[in-house]
């Protein structure tokens, strides 16, 4: 099961100029919550923004990453 730090690093490595805050929602490591801010989200629908983040992890979502709750923003709104 990936750690919150690992999730953060992978998001920030994959999405241009992004910053990610990742927390363990339940303390059990299987329900994670991430807030991701990136200019790459500008002009995209929420669905498209979340897909960019989900795409970083592919089939791991629902597998090793049981649940990843997302909030995405472009920097101007942050």
């Amino acid at each position: 099961m990936p750690t919150t730090d690992e999730i953060k690093r992978r998001i920030e490595a994959a999405i241009p100029e992004s910053t990610a805050e990742v927390e363990d929602w339940t303390g059990t490591g299987d329900h994670l919550r991430a807030t991701v801010v990136s200019p790459a989200f500008a002009g995209l629908s929420r669905i498209a923004q979340h897909r960019l983040v989900y795409d970083v992890f592919g089939a791991e979502i629902g597998g090793p990453i049981h649940a990843l709750s997302l909030t995405t923003r472009v920097p101007e709104q942050a």
């Binding site: 929420r46 669905i47 897909r51 989900y54 990843l68 709750s69 909030t71």
Partner: protein, 132 residues
């Protein structure tokens, strides 16, 4: 679109087409089996939104085919008029901003945040029963 015969994916596509508002969830609206599904149901019920619900748990292929069809990895998934609205995070964000009511063509209730009303009025579809 695959040209292979895929009855599960076809049944899911048909359910999305035939139901104006449809939620794919874990459990059913009366007994959600996951907190994310429960919150999404509560938001819809707070708007008095009529919706069909499909429990994805009885057969792992339902989730697999749904995610392949929608290009969305998590459950729940809410569709309106054939389009993916979002999962729990997006639905809750839209509920809180009033966008969900707007999207679904409903009135945002006045006053407080999510009042969780009585369950009821939304029978699970039982898609799995039509697959054998």
């Amino acid at each position: 679109m695959s040209s292979d015969t895929n009855p599960i994916r076809d049944a899911i596509a048909e359910a999305i087409r035939d139901n104006k508002t449809i939620l794919f969830m874990k459990g059913n609206p009366e007994a959600p089996a996951c907190g994310f599904s429960a919150r999404t149901v509560a938001a819809l019920q707070a708007l008095d939104a009529p919706f069909a619900a499909v429990d994805i748990l009885p057969d792992p292929r339902i989730r697999q085919e749904l995610s392949a069809l929608s290009n969305w990895p998590t459950i729940p998934q809410l569709f309106f008029e054939g389009e993916l609205v979002g999962g729990c995070d997006i639905v809750m964000e839209m509920f809180e901003s009033g966008e969900l009511a707007e999207t679904l063509g409903l009135e945002q209730p006045a006053g407080d945040a999510v009042a969780v009303p009585d369950a009821g009025g939304s029978a699970p579809l039982g898609i799995e029963n039509r697959l054998s």
